[in-house]
């Protein structure tokens, strides 16, 4: 555990060296804003379902925040270390390489929060009242579900990263996954506006790593639906964790240390 603390600090220090690039990376997340432009145009004429303009504002603002906080890049890191043979060094260490990558990816989260804070503040100033429902329970669940969304994102990426041990290059899988995720996670539109989509999506992992925290913080999830959402997220985390543990053991045996 102490080692993990040290690795977190290293992750944070690495980030400090590349802060300019991290800021640019954060700025490239424009899609929620672009989607907000489209949906708010509709809402200005008349509300769409439960969503008026401010509700769309709150929804896509939170979508942006969740996307930034529950993000990882371990799939690129794994692909790179496998292709160049740098994984050899990590395998020799006494800590599991996935702990190392987890620390590296988590170290950036405080920095992202720091960059997002002024944006959130401005949004609250621009809209008179963003319809958020920050009851203590909702707030606690918001943080809780974002944490699990991060873990799910990380594990799924680790999984696709390991596929590189079989196919040399697994970024196409990640690309396809991202596309599916965006369609079924509420990244492009609130899922309740497409009921047919929502019926399937509540059982899939995408929403658990997408709009679940957002739906909680704007107060659209209550009672059984809320419990179902939180439990589905935990269930998927367990499934993916088991898959990663199983795959890692088999995949790492195939590692050939190119150039190592």
């Amino acid at each position: 555990m102490r080692a993990f603390g040290t690795m977190l600090r290293i992750g944070f220090a690495e980030l400090a060296a590349y802060r300019g690039e991290v800021v640019i990376w954060i700025l490239t997340t424009t899609m929620p804003l672009i989607m907000f432009a489209l949906w708010s145009t509709l809402a200005r004429e008349a509300p769409v379902g439960r969503y008026d303009e401010a509700a769309f504002g709150a929804y896509f603002l939170s979508t942006l925040v969740v996307r930034q906080l529950a993000s990882a890049w371990v799939v690129w890191e794994l692909n790179y270390t496998i292709r160049t043979g740098a994984l050899s060094g990590l395998l020799l260490r006494p800590v599991h390489p996935l702990w190392y990558f987890a620390a590296q990816n988590l170290g950036v989260v405080p920095f992202r929060a720091l960059i997002l804070a002024p944006l959130v503040a401005v949004a609250f100033l621009v809209f008179d009242h963003l319809p958020v429902a920050p009851t203590p329970l909702n707030l606690a669940l918001y943080v809780w579900t974002i944490a699990w969304a991060w873990l799910l994102t990380f594990l799924v990426q680790a999984m696709f990263g390991m596929l590189a041990l079989y196919t040399q290059q697994s970024l196409s899988f990640q690309e396809a996954w991202f596309g599916l995720w965006a369609l079924l996670s509420g990244y492009l539109l609130p899922l309740e506006l497409a009921p047919a989509l929502e019926k399937v999506a509540v059982w899939l992992p995408f929403r658990a790593m997408g709009s679940l925290p957002t739906e909680i913080i704007i107060g659209h999830l209550e009672g059984p639906a809320l419990v179902q959402g939180v439990l589905t997220q935990l269930a998927w985390a367990a499934v993916v964790l088991a898959l990663v543990a199983f795959t890692w053991r088999r995949a790492v045996g195939r590692y050939e240390a190119f150039g190592g």
Binding site: L27, T30, M31, M35, A37, L38, L189, L193
Partner: protein, 262 residues
């Protein structure tokens, strides 16, 4: 002119042949390209399931903007960005030397060394969607209006090219610019909706400062005969200005080039 065309075609063919060696990857890319087209169109399609008209645009009209977006995105990702990345790499490693020594125009050579053939799927999808949207328009547009739309779209593609040459020139001084290309691509995503979807200062910026939205909305407006002459002249004036400016900047940049290898 004919010689320049021949060189460009030859370089593009060589690049496609190199990539066709990786057949599985090639096929996966083609399938993924189709998926992304659906992905891009889906939200706009859904919006018109809810409302017949959005910000003064009907579905076929907005789809015309979307098809212009797909076509320009295909040009950007299939031709412009890959060549920029390759050029930056050449500047960093010093292999630009070999290219400058060849008896052909260097700007032409760096513009066509890399072509991503999978993006032709996006291009075809964009063209097909444009044709379908035009067929659904009521009243049907005149042939002149369609030609005017094509001319505006051409201006958009040339602006993209000129801006990239300018960015490439920056790379001669500041080597690390790959992240800028990601930033630009994500800004260009705003061009997928008709410009009137955006409001206030965002619309002003997207029309006049970074004319991203204008690149896809003006062609559609030209087909609908709703583009006034001032905007059309402004767009082509800007295009020609940027082309000339980028050519001059390129010359300066190459003169400044001090090979990294020697």
């Amino acid at each position: 002119m004919a010689r320049h065309l021949a060189i460009a075609l030859f370089l593009a063919r060589a690049s496609i042949q190199t990539q066709a060696q990786y057949r599985v990857d090639f096929l996966v890319q083609m399938v993924l390209a189709l998926f992304w087209v659906v992905w891009n169109v889906a939200p706009l399609w859904l919006v018109f399931e809810i409302r017949p008209e959005v910000a003064g645009w009907t579905r076929p009209q907005a789809m015309l903007v979307m098809s212009a977006f797909l076509i320009l995105k295909a040009v950007l990702e299939g031709l412009i960005t890959p060549n920029l990345v390759a050029l930056v790499d050449r500047i960093r490693t010093g292999t630009l030397d070999f290219l400058l020594l060849k008896p052909a125009d260097a700007q032409l050579m760096v513009s066509f060394t890399k072509v991503v053939p999978a993006k032709t799927m996006d291009l075809l999808a964009g063209l097909a969607m444009a044709a379908a949207s035009i067929a659904q328009l009521d009243p049907a547009p005149t042939p002149t209006a369609v030609l005017a739309g094509a001319a505006m779209l051409g201006a958009g593609a040339l602006v993209l090219y000129a801006v990239w040459i300018l960015v490439a020139c920056v790379a001669f001084w500041v080597v690390k610019i790959d992240n800028l290309s990601f930033l630009f691509t994500s800004l260009f995503d705003a061009a997928r909706w008709p410009v009137s979807v955006f409001r206030g200062w965002v619309r002003v910026v997207l029309t006049w400062v970074l004319p991203i939205a204008a690149m896809t909305s003006y062609p559609a407006l030209a087909v609908l005969e709703r583009l006034d002459l001032v905007h059309a002249v402004w767009a082509w004036g800007l295009t020609l200005g940027l082309l000339v400016g980028s050519r001059l900047a390129w010359r300066q940049a190459v003169l400044h080039y001090s090979s990294a290898s020697s």
